[in-house]
Symmetry: C2
Subunit: 81 residues, 2 copies
Amino acid sequence: MRATVVVRPKDGILDPQGQAVESSLRHLGFAVDSARVGRVVELDLDTEDAGDARAQLERMCEQLLANPLIESYEIALQADA
Amino acid sequence: MRATVVVRPKDGILDPQGQAVESSLRHLGFAVDSARVGRVVELDLDTEDAGDARAQLERMCEQLLANPLIESYEIALQADA
């Protein structure tokens, strides 16, 4: 089963990468009000059970993929093509 | 206008960050077949014109947000809430 996890800095948390992107885009002449940068992790899991997959992904996020103190994450499952 | 840009390593291109995630997840006991890591950039643009926004975002991707040689990007526009 394929899954996509999006990890973003929480609102109100400093996002230095986003600030760098915002400032660089302005220097390049783009009219940008704000920029936030996160990660997207695309995974192929061995399980075909959606409930099991989601439970595993939650644990992956808590243990490795995200820092729950400063980042939020969003899990989306795709059926195999 | 809000926009989301997802930047991913192209298929067949080495993804060391994805390999590190895959190997770490396996060490943690997760049954993972593959992992790819990309970036997600969320932007607030000054323009409210979708065509203009998309054209600007294409140029941002070519100039700063992605490396078109090794990365592909996907642009999604959201109307302001």
